[in-house]
C-alpha cells in the first residue's frame, strides 16, 4: 500500500532515502505506526506524536492505503 509520510524539524533527516520527494512511501498492508518508525530508523527513545489524516493516533494504529501520516518530535523548549 502507498501512504504519504511527512516528518518535521528534527525528524526530517530520517526520511532521506526512504520517503519519496512527494512524501510517498510503499509499505506492507497493515503496517503500524510503530513499524513505520522502526523502518525509518527513528530512535526508540525519542517521544513521537502521530497525526494520521490530521487525527491523533497511537503507535499501534494500523495504516491504510492512502493515509497521510505526520510525525513530530518535540524540541521541548519553553
Amino acid at each position: 500500500m502507498k501512504v504519504k509520510v511527512k516528518l518535521y524539524t528534527i525528524l526530517k533527516k530520517y526520511a532521506q532515502g526512504k520517503v519519496w520527494e512527494d512524501n510517498s512511501i510503499v509499505l506492507n498492508r497493515d503496517t503500524t505506526l510503530q513499524e513505520l518508525t522502526n523502518y525509518l530508523a527513528i530512535p526508540s527513545n525519542i517521544g513521537l506524536i502521530f497525526l494520521v489524516n490530521n487525527t491523533p493516533q497511537d503507535k499501534e494504529y494500523k495504516l491504510c492505503d492512502g493515509d497521510e501520516v505526520k510525525i513530530f518530535s518535540l524540541i521541548c523548549g519553553g
Binding site: Y8, T9, I10, S44, N45, I46, G47, I49, L51, N54, T55, P56, K70, F72, S73, L74, I75, C76, G77, G78
Partner: protein, 624 residues
C-alpha cells in the same frame, strides 16, 4: 577561604542611597548555593508577612548562581526574586544574557535592593564601586532607548543593563525587567523595580573564576563540552529555536488555543512555514559564548506590522500572540511581541490577558465603551499592538488588564473567573496539561504559579520522553509510561522538581540539562570550583530544601492546598480541535495525583504545609 564565591553580597538602600557589603557564611552558601535558592532564604527571613509587593518593604534580589559565568556552558543566567505583585506569592523571574555573569564579575555574589528612591534613579556597579545616577530623562523611553542612553552616558558599549520599560514605570503588574531583548518576564519584577523608582541597573566587572582545583574543573568542562557537541537536543535548539516546537506542540495537543478553549488548532504548521519564509533572519547567542544559541533574530519587512530586526520569535511569545488570541497573522504576532519587549511587558501574560479580554467581550462582560470602542473579535490582528500599548500605559481597557487576568476577573465579576486561566494568579503559558498529565501536577504545585520554566519538565517527560539523567535517582523511564496515565505521576513530579530546579539555583540555563548535562556534571563542576565534596544526589537535596523554603514563603502569605489547582477549563474536554473526541486528554483525578505528590513531598495532605519531620530532615527546623 571559599573558592568561586566572593562570599559577599551588596545591600543597597534606595531610601537614602546607601549601600553596604555583607559577608555570607559558608554554611549558608553550601545549603542554598545561589540563584532562587539563596534568594528564597533571604526573602523568607527578611520580608514580613503580608507586605504590599509594590511598597518599599518589598525587596528585589538579583541572584546569579555559583556556575554563572561566561566560562561555563549555560552560565549566562540570573534570577530576580521578590514577592510578586501579580500573585501576592513567591516571585521569581529568570533572565538570560550577559547581566548575570557581569554582576558576578563585579565581585559580589548577590545584589539586594531595598526601599524606595525619592526620585527616579539608576544604579551603576562597576567592580566594587556603586553609583546612583539620576534617571528623570529615561522616563517614557523604550527599553532599547534606555539601554542606549545609559551606555552613552557611561561611555561604554559593553556595560550590561537591566531596565524596566514604560510598563514598569506605570506599575503594570505583568511588567518585565529587560536585559536588552532578554526578559525576566514573569511575576511582575518590572513593577516591583518601578515601585522603587529604580529605572535600571548597569553592571560591569572584571573578576574571573578561580577554581579550587583547576585540573578537575578543566577536565569536567571538557567532558561537558563533549556532551554538548554530541547532543541532538543542543543541535535542535540551535537549528530550530524554541519556535521550532510550534507544529509539534499543536499536534501533541500541547498548544492552548483561543484562551484555552482547546489544546490544538491545526494552524501551527502554516504559521511556522510563514515565519521561516518571511520573519526568520538568523539564530543568536543570548550571552557571550553560548554554545547552544537558541535565540532568533526576526523581522517584518513591510506592511502595517513592519518591525526592525530584533531578538524575538520565541515559542512562548509567539504562541501567546497567535494561538491564545486565535490570530493567524504571524507578522502581527512578531510585531506585538517586539512591542512587549520594548515596553517591558511580559509577552505570555500580555497575550493571555488579551485573550481573556476577547472572551469577556464575546460574552458581553465588557461593553464597547469599556473596551474603548475596539473590535475585540477573535483573530483581529489589528488590535493586538494597540492592546499591548494600552496595557503598558494603563490606558482605557489597558488599565484593567494591567493587573493580570485574576484581578481583572475579580473586578469584572459576573462569572468572568471562568475565562481567567491562571495558577496562583500567574497566567498560564503555552503548554497544555491535557497533553500529558504530569504537567498538571507541575503546574498546580509550582511555587510561582502556572509558569513555563519549572512545570516544563511535566510536558518534556510525558510527551518528549526526556530523562535529564534523572533515572539515576529513581525516576522511571518515560518510555515505559503513557502520557495520558495519571496514576504514579504525582510521585514522579517530586523528584523531577527537586532536580530540575537546580539550573535556577546554580545560575545556568535549563536547556543545557535538556542537552544532556546532568546533576552529576554540575556537582563535578561545583566541587572543582569550590573544593566542596558534592555529588549529584546532594544537589537533589538542595533542590528539595529550596522548594520547601519557597513553599513556606507561600504558606506564610496564606496559600494552601486550595491554591494548588488547575483551572477547570484546562482539565476539561477541548471545545474543538483534533482532541475534541479524545477522552484520554480529560484530567479525571487531579486530586488523586496531588495526594500522591503531597505524600512524596512529606507535606500535610489537607493543608499542603511541609510537615515537621520533613523540615527537620532538610535542616529547616528553625522555620517550623
Amino acid at each position: 577561604m571559599v573558592h568561586n564565591y566572593s562570599v559577599k553580597q551588596i545591600r543597597v538602600s534606595l531610601n537614602d542611597y546607601s549601600f553596604k557589603c555583607e559577608i555570607i557564611p559558608e554554611k549558608v552558601l553550601q545549603d542554598y548555593l545561589g540563584g532562587v535558592g539563596y534568594a528564597a532564604k533571604v526573602l523568607y527571613e527578611e520580608l514580613d508577612k503580608g507586605i504590599d509587593p509594590l511598597s518599599p518593604e518589598n525587596k528585589l534580589i538579583f541572584a546569579p548562581g555559583p556556575l554563572t559565568s561566561y566560562q561555563i556552558p549555560g552560565g549566562g543566567s540570573i534570577e530576580i526574586c521578590f514577592k510578586s505583585p501579580l500573585t501576592g506569592a513567591w516571585g521569581e523571574s529568570r533572565c538570560g544574557g550577559n547581566f548575570g555573569p557581569e554582576l558576578k564579575r563585579t565581585g559580589y555574589d548577590f545584589l539586594i535592593l531595598e526601599g524606595k528612591s525619592p526620585q527616579p534613579v539608576y544604579l551603576f556597579i562597576h567592580d566594587k564601586e556603586v553609583e546612583f545616577r539620576k534617571a528623570h530623562h529615561l522616563l517614557g523611553k523604550t527599553v532599547s532607548e534606555k539601554t542606549k542612553m545609559i551606555r552613552e552616558e557611561l561611555a561604554d558599549q559593553d556595560i550590561s543593563i537591566m531596565c524596566i520599560g514604560i510598563a514598569g514605570e506605570n506599575l503594570v503588574r505583568i511588567a518585565s525587567l529587560m536585559c536588552e531583548s532578554r526578559a525576566a518576564g514573569r511575576c511582575g519584577a518590572g513593577a516591583v523595580m518601578g515601585s522603587k523608582n529604580l529605572i535600571a541597573v548597569a553592571v560591569k566587572g572584571s573578576a574571573r573564576l578561580q577554581p579550587h582545583n583547576p585540573d578537575h574543573f578543566n577536565r569536567t568542562l571538557k567532558e561537558v563540552r563533549k556532551v554538548l557537541k554530541e547532543s541532538a537536543f543542543a543541535k535542535n535548539f540551535r537549528q530550530f529555536g524554541t519556535i521550532g516546537d510550534l507544529a509539534g506542540n499543536d499536534a501533541a495537543g500541547d498548544w492552548p488555543t483561543k484562551n484555552w478553549q482547546s489544546n490544538n488548532w491545526g494552524q501551527a504548521e502554516e504559521l511556522y512555514d510563514y515565519y521561516l519564509q518571511h520573519n526568520f533572519v538568523q539564530n543568536k547567542m543570548c550571552y557571550k559564548g553560548c554554545p547552544i544559541a537558541c535565540g532568533r533574530i526576526a523581522k517584518v519587512d513591510e506592511g502595517r506590522f513592519k518591525t526592525p530586526h530584533h531578538e524575538g520569535a520565541e515559542y512562548e511569545s509567539v504562541s501567546a500572540f497567535t494561538a491564545f488570541v486565535f490570530n493567524r497573522d504571524m507578522d502581527a504576532a512578531i510585531h506585538s511581541t517586539y512591542l512587549c519587549n520594548e515596553l517591558g511587558l511580559d509577552t505570555i501574560s500580555a497575550g493571555a490577558v488579551i485573550a481573556f479580554a476577547l472572551e469577556c467581550s464575546e460574552h458581553k462582560l465588557l461593553s464597547v465603551e469599556e473596551v474603548d470602542g475596539l473590535d475585540l473579535s477573535w483573530g483581529n490582528a489589528d488590535i493586538l499592538p494597540v492592546m499591548v500599548e494600552k496595557i503598558a500605559k494603563r490606558e482605557g481597557i489597558g488599565n484593567l488588564l494591567a493587573d493580570g487576568v485574576c484581578k481583572a476577573a475579580q473586578k469584572i465579576g459576573r462569572g468572568a473567573e471562568q475565562y481567567a486561566v491562571h495558577g496562583k494568579g500567574l497566567e498560564g503559558p503555552a503548554h497544555d496539561p491535557r497533553s500529558g498529565k504530569l504537567l498538571a501536577v507541575t503546574y498546580g504545585t509550582a511555587n510561582r504559579g502556572m509558569c513555563h520554566i519549572h512545570p516544563l519538565e511535566g510536558m518534556a517527560y510525558d510527551s518528549g520522553k526526556v530523562t535529564w539523567g534523572m533515572t539515576a535517582y529513581g525516576v522511571p523511564d518515560p518510555n515505559t509510561l503513557d502520557r495520558w496515565e495519571e496514576k504514579g505521576k504525582g510521585a514522579i513530579t517530586k523528584t523531577l522538581q527537586d532536580g530540575l530546579i537546580m539550573p535556577d539555583v546554580l545560575g545556568v540555563c535549563k536547556f543545557f540539562m535538556y542537552a544532556g548535562i546532568t546533576l552529576e556534571h554540575y556537582a563535578q563542576l561545583l566541587s572543582a570550583l569550590t573544593g566542596w565534596p558534592i555529588k549529584g544526589r546532594d544537589l537533589l537535596t538542595v533542590g528539595e530544601r529550596v522548594i520547601n523554603v519557597q513553599r513556606l514563603f507561600n504558606v506564610r502569605e496564606g496559600l494552601a492546598r486550595a491554591d494548588d489547582v488547575i483551572h477547570e477549563r484546562a482539565q476539561q474536554r477541548p471545545l474543538f480541535g483534533a482532541y475534541h473526541n479524545e477522552d484520554r486528554c480529560i484530567i479525571k483525578d487531579y486530586e488523586g495525583m496531588l495526594e500522591e505528590y503531597y505524600q512524596a513531598r512529606g507535606w500535610d495532605s489537607h493543608t499542603g504545609i511541609p510537615n515537621k519531620e520533613k523540615l527537620r530532615e532538610l535542616g529547616l527546623n528553625q522555620y517550623w
